[in-house]
Symmetry: C2
Subunit: 478 residues, 2 copies
Amino acid sequence: MDSAEFTEFGTAMIQYITQYLDNIRDRRVLPTVQPGYIQDLIPAEAPEEGEKWQDVMKDIERVIMPGVTHWHSPNFHAFYPTANSYPAIVADMLSGAIACIGFTWMSSPACTELEVVTLDWLGKAIDLPPQFLSGPSNGKGGGVIQGTASEATLVALLSARTRFAKKHLSNARSFDEDNFISKLVSYTSEQSHSSVERAGMLGGVKMRMIPTDEDLRMRGADLKAAIQKDKAAGLIPFFVVATLGSTNSCAFDALDEIGDVCQEEEVWLHVDAAYAGAAFVCEEYRYLMVGMDKADSFNFNPHKWMLVNFDCSAMWIKDANEVVEAFNVDPFYLKHDMQGKAPDYRHWQIPLGRRFRSLKLWFVMRIYGLKKIKEHIRIQIRLAHDFEQMLRKDNRFEIVTPVIMGLVCFRLKDKSNEDNEKLLKRINERGKIHIVPAKIKDLYIIRFAICSRFTNLEDVKIGWQEIQDATTELFPSK
Amino acid sequence: MDSAEFTEFGTAMIQYITQYLDNIRDRRVLPTVQPGYIQDLIPAEAPEEGEKWQDVMKDIERVIMPGVTHWHSPNFHAFYPTANSYPAIVADMLSGAIACIGFTWMSSPACTELEVVTLDWLGKAIDLPPQFLSGPSNGKGGGVIQGTASEATLVALLSARTRFAKKHLSNARSFDEDNFISKLVSYTSEQSHSSVERAGMLGGVKMRMIPTDEDLRMRGADLKAAIQKDKAAGLIPFFVVATLGSTNSCAFDALDEIGDVCQEEEVWLHVDAAYAGAAFVCEEYRYLMVGMDKADSFNFNPHKWMLVNFDCSAMWIKDANEVVEAFNVDPFYLKHDMQGKAPDYRHWQIPLGRRFRSLKLWFVMRIYGLKKIKEHIRIQIRLAHDFEQMLRKDNRFEIVTPVIMGLVCFRLKDKSNEDNEKLLKRINERGKIHIVPAKIKDLYIIRFAICSRFTNLEDVKIGWQEIQDATTELFPSK
């Protein structure tokens, strides 16, 4: 395909994309296909001869769209948002054309440099303590773009593991001595994301789930008790993950208390704010991040709520050397003259290769500006409160947890888990909106999240009407 | 930014991309910027008010391009190729617009389904044994797109670790008993990629580097001896990585021999063909993959040599359940009705989230067709042989390893490592071409790889002339 043909193809795709997004309201949010549906629509083998791009374009509606869950439909209220914006899509086109691999500074200096600067921009925008930023810390701290929050948690856990191996073992690179790995213990809230539990599994270490208070927050005293118990048993507490904005219910752990405990007990503190971190661009939500100065690493996903397409998970580390020590293997073919003068991000992550992802962060922050980004966050939180108000007026329902960000957790009052599950299934089967449940301390909860940047008050009213209608349909007595 | 503005912006970007790639030959392949250069060119903080997209566009040449190493310049001969093609860029635009997260089948069925089918396409195209494919194996085997080969190796290692935990421990989810992790031993060639060593480090297990024969191949007998020695010492050999096409010199381990050893010793065999695997689309190179039926997992990167933009690292597993068992944590909010009827790819990888990456594989395979993909591979290998012939006619140089794929490893004959290093530095400083070295058994080697899809015979001649000129400049005596 030459440049002229790409111009035609790319132009046709731009038109397709604008039509898709401008009319996404008309599509059924959840598809109705069955597993294996695509095998009946396309051949079992790749073609030997190339096909025309026009034929591939035609297959988007025929093959792909029937099986798409439309995450950017204004009626998608499941999980949490994933970002989608025009500036990010255009930035990714440029990233695809430059197509450099930024594993070392020298392998494409712009790729590393723009990441250093835009993560300082972003850190300042959410008022992150200056020790986390590259500029103010003189390069001791700094930010990096990971693929996902799961990877950020695992990177932090492995770095903490190496910190403790250095402290306890004669050779920090092999974990041979003294049953070391079996003694390591990490801690998180019982409300934290499954990827935290998984990071423990992958790292081969114990992960204790700390019970939460009535607002589903992990508290300092409970954490402290668990750590001290393990120490008394001869184990080595080494790593804590605090969650700001849990996936279940958007609960915020008591970071300030937890930070004190981690400092007293000399344990690595990682803060996972995957979804809610974006809200810290707005001053009025920064009370939720008090204590961040006591953390060792922090992560949130601009690819969730900050208009930067996936994947763009921003992570900051207070002492980047600790990550480098855990990840550094330095083969000859990757050595270069500038080592030590700028970060080589391959030592900050699990993969070796990396795309030029900071372009989309740069495009989004410049073209929207912080003002529009704040507006976007505030609008979505306001819509969640609007929904909350609608719910409160119908006494068939109860709100289960405080509404702080763009998520409302509710259930049918005085009904069993099974009844609530029936309601959720019925709503999803009707196909007008999509929501998912959570289970909190054995209670079945329905989650309604404001996700799409297209969602407006009218859509929220439609969503609420849909929930009411499905409820009346299922439980007509009331 | 609304759809009309995106149309303008996207159209301008298409024009920029075609101009960049059509004229990439004119750019200096390596930049001359110094660490920190970008800080002087852009503000220290994100703007409060949004900027015009036109101003962002202008900054690409002012801010970004001076710091780009042009991987797609026909004069880029460093590392191995990374892919860049128009069909892949357009597919990524669509992926960015749909912007679904494909962690479960239900979260966007098309995302999972197209991945299942295109990885079967790709597996068939390289004649992978049918046990690895989803269709022929009835879903026991199957392919998945990982971000990088590093991740594929780590996924395989962690899965193997769980296989052995199930065998040796009462609770395969915790590695508490009997100093288990300290006893695990993995093996790879001393020539294998640094990411293999790193996978061992991250997994907390020993990784033995097996010496290679005169052609830099790991041989079955050497592996067998190492495994038996460890068994005799009470350790648990559990995992072997064989490399097809090493990064240093594109050496191919003796897979068939290694496969036998792994079967006899009951050890997980992972095959890493990150670069060279793409060449198996051509029948004449399949002799190098004999023995693949004895492997447990296999990986190569279409994002290297197969025209699919990064990231698209294809991995196949013979028994996908073994990966799921290592990675599965099943939170309530991700449960859905179709579980068990289609893969939930979140259990096959380290991150939870995942983009719709199979679109670019589908677009590339359809629009090029297998015929053009084979042609691309063959042209690049022929160019390497052309370069080899040029070198052979100049007796100042020697070819160090057999030229099998698109890489030529050479050095100044009868000169010290230091002299060879001087030559490489001089060549890169002159800035016309970019190459990197390797160190093989203490010998400093210069690597010349055919990378860009734009490289033609004329460019190879220019590269060779440049190497000759730099040599004459440095060592005029000869």
